[in-house]
């Protein structure tokens, strides 16, 4: 099975503390939910293989701590990520209003220009909603992101969010060809380039 994995993708999960980043991840990877999920320290890491459009992609998902103080540490792990999931809590206006900060953080530290961004509004199972779906949509549109509302508790939207993100990454070939496996592809590309160079000098 391992050898038909198309590529390994690095995905980040970021957002304010306590919005349910780790819970979303755990729901996706282990299909479990723990209301007493411990607060993440630094970064955590999970792996899952996903089948998207007949392609198997291995996902290395980096879950980060949301606390302000960790923010000096976690951006180091943004390097080389192809996709990012930006999470807020629909029951907390404050977690939504901090999104801009997270995006600028991402802009500063991600090494890939065309990183795919997804906005996830978590905890839609909660009664006390403070951020409407429209607000989320508006924000996502403004910043060219994918958008979905989800609940790690009820499972709603979680699988879909990850699948959608991976599909989008795979549809953007420049993003993942430089992957380790992609090196071979790149080499082919080179010979073409070289041929092109030769042609240029002929004329």
């Amino acid at each position: 099975m391992e050898q038909d994995v198309l590529t390994t993708l690095k995905i980040l999960i970021i957002g304010e503390s306590g919005v349910g980043k780790s819970s979303l991840l755990l729901r996706f990877t282990d299909d479990t939910f723990d209301p007493e999920q411990a607060a993440t320290i630094g970064v955590d890491f999970k792996v899952k293989t996903l089948q998207v459009e007949g392609n198997r992609a291995k996902l290395a998902i980096w879950d980060t701590a949301g606390q302000e103080r960790f923010r000096t540490l976690t951006p180091s792990y943004y390097r080389g990520a192809q996709g990012v999931i930006l999470v807020y809590d629909v029951s907390s206006r404050q977690s939504f209003s901090k999104l801009e900060t997270w995006l600028s953080e991402l802009e500063t530290f991600s090494t890939k220009h065309d990183i795919i961004k997804m906005l996830v509004g978590n905890k839609i199972d909660m009664d006390k909603r403070e951020v409407s779906k429209e607000d989320g949509l508006k924000f996502a549109r403004k910043h060219h992101m994918l958008f979905i509302e989800a609940s790690a508790k009820t499972k709603e939207g979680v699988q879909c969010a990850f699948e959608e993100l991976v599909e989008k990454i795979i549809q953007t070939p420049g993003l993942w060809e430089t992957d380790r496996r992609g090196l071979q592809l790149e080499r082919d590309g080179n010979t073409q380039q070289a041929a092109c160079g030769g042609y240029c000098s002929v004329i």
């Binding site: 304010e16 306590g18 607060a39 320290i41 970064v43 890491f45 792990y77 080179n190 240029c200």
Partner: protein, 996 residues
């Protein structure tokens, strides 16, 4: 058909008895079928100039005659519209019509022969030029050294081809290359129903006088046809004058700061002018030995072409190529420098080394070496160079080092230099590409253009070319590493490396130097801080510590979590009692720093600990320690935190001074991430990972806990650190009467027993940031960087510097580009896109850089060509404003297209300019032989143009062959006369195979 039946009968025996000859024919037929060249409908003649503009494709296969191997190649013009046409042909409606038409249709070969739309294509296979064919097959010997040199062998092959063509009823012309390949001689045949075409070639190296003009050639043509005809010859006269003049460009380079650019030799070797006369009847023009109607000035069409020097040597490309070449070398710096490094440095150190170091600092104000011997013993010992054998002389290396480290310069000198560089910047700042140049650092993984790494890259590249190659490179690198160590040990920050944590978007070497700079900065900070601390707060804090110690002695209980705190105190006590001098601060920090400790140090530590616990009755309850700490003067407060009060005491919560987490370079990060990832995804792994990363958390707890806010609890910490995990509870009534005291509880996840936060808090000890174990161990990290640098082989250095060098090269190209060639911009964009990929690759790959370099060389070449052309056309005409635009357009076209038509021939703007150019050239040529010409030939009838270097004629006619009663069919002869080179006649003669 009868032949089919025959074939059926013969089929069984055919293959068993097949001779080499039959097998060759069978294979040929097979290939023809495979390529679908059988029974094809005729194609329309190619559109005008399509031979030049269209795309030529080819297919190749093997074919053998006995054991002689041939390559069979099908060349054809990819006609864009052919697809739709072929569809039309296949549709059944048209079939009937097609059948009827078939009789009248002329086969492709014949239409091609007679088509005048594509005479003299500028670039095409030589057979295309000779016969104007749009599709044909060539059979060439596979081994270039084996040629078909006897006529009989050629005839055998040709007749086999005829058989194959007849069998498969294919009308495609097939050529066989005969004689040596360079002669480009082909004989060929094409077989159609009721007729056949013979292609034959004459190739002579000397030009027979009687055939060197049109009249003579017509005689040949007519005699071949053996009938009186009216050919319509078209004539082409090509006259390449040699316009090469040496280009002015800086050869070699004086500075170490910029790469050279430009071609050493003239990239344009000649300009050729083609004058063409199309479709003239035989009697319209006369050209014989004495007289010619073909005056270039009267030619209806002029075409110009430039001949470019093949692979001219370009400075930029050469420099970088020579540099990159070394990245395959395996030698280490030591291998390269073994003979010039004196080994007995240690013994006669003082003289040699002081000199070596002197070199770096000689007469410079910026430095102020504290004690030379100290530096020498630590850093200097490695590089004492025997001057006589060093590839770079001492003076040069002084200059280079001053260039790399301008802060070592005399301030006065520096000021001068600054103004100079400013001027230089103003000069070469083309507005056209500013946006592009600005985006470069973001797109490439490189270093800023004014940075040390960038300067080093350019400098090493130039050193490699001009000063001793790889050895010089190794020497300079060695000096550089030495300087790095010197700066670390003497706390001089690096200039030209920005003072921040390693920027992950820059190249690795730059990150490393940033790291080193951070270390130096930290070292300076640490030492000044400590000095300040000892002078001002030393007494205070020490006395309070004494108090604590006394308390703990009296309490007489032992708590493990307090052990560490005491260790810290004990160390201080030790220090205080043993030697209280401030010089010892380094040692103190080293002891605190367990991960980097050597075993012996560790042992010492343990000893100390034990000693201490023996001498003191160390036991203490947690509560008592807090009580103590309340009385203790808080330290390391940064600011008050949002008017929040401590839960236990109601005092203001202060944000403590914290330690920043250690900066990391990308390779460290990669390593760290890998370790974290390796822990796997299990719960234990996650737990372990959290612990590994909790250093910063614990450190923060420590400083908050005791130092800044004596008596605070985990809840207080959470309110500062993770506000969302503190849930305010308004309903709970406050038991105390203090209304300001907030009520609330920790979020469920913080209350889980045994979670990392809780555990960390339990083990937190009150220590201010500057006395904590260092999160960022600058000593260790600096040593790591220095080791990394000194362990690099010259080859590694080269590879790591390539991103900067490519960056520099692109800037150089952009600075020099003053032409408006769109293709140039395309390639430039391509280069940048590729460079951004290559420089970002995880493992730097020399091969990729070679490709990149090739593209950059192409760019350099193109720019050099444009420049060269521009200098050549700076005649008086050029200054005429009206014409300038037209001319510059023409020049641009010349560079882009293989051939450029000149509007209005000799009468147009460009034409007259060219005419002037030729006249000037002619004058120059005649000047040389002036004296002779004056004496011998007074009638100065010097023609405006030099003798044409080549003339080409195409003669065509319709004539019956072989007998007068045969069908009238197309006949064509191509003649090419190249003075001093060759004389070539290529005839395509069609003959009627029915009425002969």
């Amino acid at each position: 058909m009868a032949s089919d039946e025959d074939a059926d009968v013969f089929e069984i025996t055919d293959f068993t008895t097949a001779s080499d000859w039959e097998r060759f024919i069978a294979r040929l037929e097979e290939v023809l079928h495979e390529w679908k060249l059988v029974n094809n409908k005729p194609k329309p003649p190619a559109a005008k100039d399509e031979f030049t503009s269209g795309e030529w494709l080819e297919k190749t296969d093997d074919i053998c005659f006995a054991d002689f191997k041939f390559l069979i190649t099908y060349h054809y013009l990819n006609v864009s519209g052919s697809k739709s046409e072929s569809l039309d042909r296949q549709s059944p409606d048209n079939d009937v019509e097609e059948e009827e038409k078939k009789e009248d249709e002329t086969p492709t070969v014949l239409t091609d022969l007679m088509s005048t739309d594509n005479d003299f294509p500028s670039k095409a296979h030589c057979l295309v030029r000779l016969y104007g064919l749009q599709e044909f097959i060539v059979i060439t010997p596979a081994d270039r050294n084996k040629a078909i040199d006897s006529e009989s062998r050629a005839k055998v092959l040709l007749s086999s081809v005829s058989v194959a063509l007849t069998n498969s009823s294919s009308s495609i012309p097939v050529f066989i290359q005969i004689q040596q390949p360079w002669r480009q001689m082909y004989c060929g045949t094409s077989v159609m129903s009721e007729m056949s075409v013979e292609f034959d070639v004459i190739h002579l190296t000397r030009i027979p006088q009687q055939y060197s003009h049109l009249a003579g050639l017509l005689d040949v043509f007519k005699s071949k046809l053996a009938t009186q005809v009216t050919p319509r010859p078209t004539v082409d006269v090509a006259e390449p004058p040699d316009l090469s003049s040496p280009m002015e460009d800086e050869i070699g380079c004086s500075s170490f700061g910029s790469l050279p650019f430009g071609a050493i030799e003239d990239p344009i070797s000649a300009l050729q002018l083609f004058c063409s006369w199309y479709s003239l009847s035989e009697d319209m023009i006369v050209e014989n030995q004495n007289y010619s109607d073909l005056d270039p000035l009267l030619a209806p069409q002029w075409t110009a072409k430039i001949k470019k020097t093949e692979d001219p040597q370009c400075l930029l490309g050469t420099y970088i190529h020579k540099f990159l070449k070394h990245c395959y070398s395996k030698e280490t710096t030591r291998d390269l420098l073994w003979n010039i490094l004196s080994e007995e440095v240690e013994n006669d150190a003082s003289a040699d080394i002081s000199q070596a170091l002197h070199r770096l600092t000689e007469n410079k104000v910026g430095y102020n070496i504290p004690s030379l011997s100290n530096v020498v013993s630590k850093a200097g010992s490695r590089l004492a160079v025997k001057q006589a054998e060093a590839p770079i002389s001492q003076d040069t290396i002084n200059d280079i080092l001053l260039f790399l480290f301008p802060d070592a310069k005399d301030p006065l000198e520096k000021a001068n230099d600054d103004s100079e560089t400013e001027n230089a910047c103003e000069n070469n700042n083309p507005s056209k590409f500013t946006a592009l140049l600005e985006s470069l650092p973001k797109r490439l993984k490189t270093a800023p253009t004014d940075s040390l790494v960038y300067r080093l890259a350019v400098c090493l590249c130039i050193v490699n070319k001009n000063y001793g190659g790889l050895k010089g490179l190794a020497q300079l690198w060695q000096e550089f590493v030495l300087e790095m160590r010197y700066r670390w040990e003497n706390k001089y920050e690096l200039e030209g490396v920005s003072k921040s944590a390693p920027h992950l978007g820059s190249c690795l070497l730059y990150q490393k130097l940033q790291m080193l700079n951070s270390c130096i900065e930290k070292k300076i900070q640490r030492e000044t801080l400590f000095k300040g601390y000892t002078s001002q707060t030393n007494l205070d804090s020490n006395s309070s510590e004494m108090e604590v110690e006394n308390n703990s002695e009296s309490n007489g209980k032992c708590e493990s979590e307090n052990k560490k705190r005491k260790e810290c105190c004990s160390n201080k006590l030790d220090r205080k009692t043993s030697d209280s001098s401030a010089d010892d601060d380094d040692e103190f920090y080293e002891c605190q720093d367990s991960p980097s400790k050597s075993p012996t140090e560790l042992d010492k530590d343990v000893d100390e600990k034990e000693d201490f616990s023996e001498t003191m009755d160390t036991s203490q309850s947690e509560s008592s320690s807090f009580v103590d700490s309340v009385t203790h003067k808080p330290e390391g407060r940064l600011s008050a935190f949002n008017d929040i009060q401590l839960l236990s005491t109601g005092e203001q919560l202060y944000v403590p001074v914290t330690q920043e987490p250690a900066p990391m370079t990308e390779d460290m990060l990669e390593e760290h991430a890998e370790i974290l990832a390796k822990l796997g995804t299990s719960a234990e792994g996650a737990q372990l990972r959290a612990r590994m990363q909790s250093a910063c958390l614990i450190s923060d707890m420590d400083v908050l806990n005791f130092a800044a806010n004596p008596g605070c609890v985990l809840e207080d910490f959470v309110r500062w650190y993770s506000p969302r995990d503190w849930i305010e509870d308004e309903s709970t009534m406050s038991n105390d009467n203090t209304q300001t005291k907030p009520k609330g509880y920790l979020s469920p996840r913080m209350q889980i027993p045994g979670n990392v936060w809780y555990e960390a808090w339990q083990s937190a000890k009150p220590v201010p940031a500057h006395r904590q174990k260092r999160l960022f161990d600058d000593t260790k990290e600096a040593e790591k960087v220095l080791h990394f640098l000194s362990a690099m082989k010259p080859a590694d250095v080269i590879l790591q510097l390539m991103p900067c060098l490519i960056h520099a090269a692109i800037i150089k190209v952009v600075e020099n580009d003053d032409s408006d060639i769109p293709r140039l911009k395309d390639i430039l964009d391509q280069v940048i896109t590729r460079a951004s990929k290559v420089t970002r690759a995880f493992n730097q790959n020399a091969k990729h850089y070679e490709d990149l370099l090739r593209m950059i060389t192409t760019l350099e070449n193109m720019i050099a060509q444009a420049k060269s052309l521009r200098t050549k056309f700076t005649t008086d005409l050029w200054k005429d404003c009206d014409k300038e635009e037209e001319l510059s357009q023409f020049l641009t076209q010349l560079l882009q297209k293989p051939e450029v038509d000149i509007e209005g021939a000799s009468q147009g703007t460009v034409g007259s300019c060219l005419h002037q150019l030729f006249i000037a050239q002619q004058k120059e040529v005649n000047m040389i032989g002036e004296e002779e010409s004056l004496s011998e030939n007074k009638n100065s009838a010097i023609s405006d143009f030099p003798q044409p270097s080549a003339r080409e004629y195409i003669l065509r006619t319709m004539a019956p062959r072989p007998a007068p009663y045969s069908k009238t069919l197309p006949q064509k002869m191509f003649c090419s006369i190249m003075v001093g080179h060759h004389f070539q006649l290529a005839g395509a003669f069609t003959s009627d195979s029915l009425f002969q």
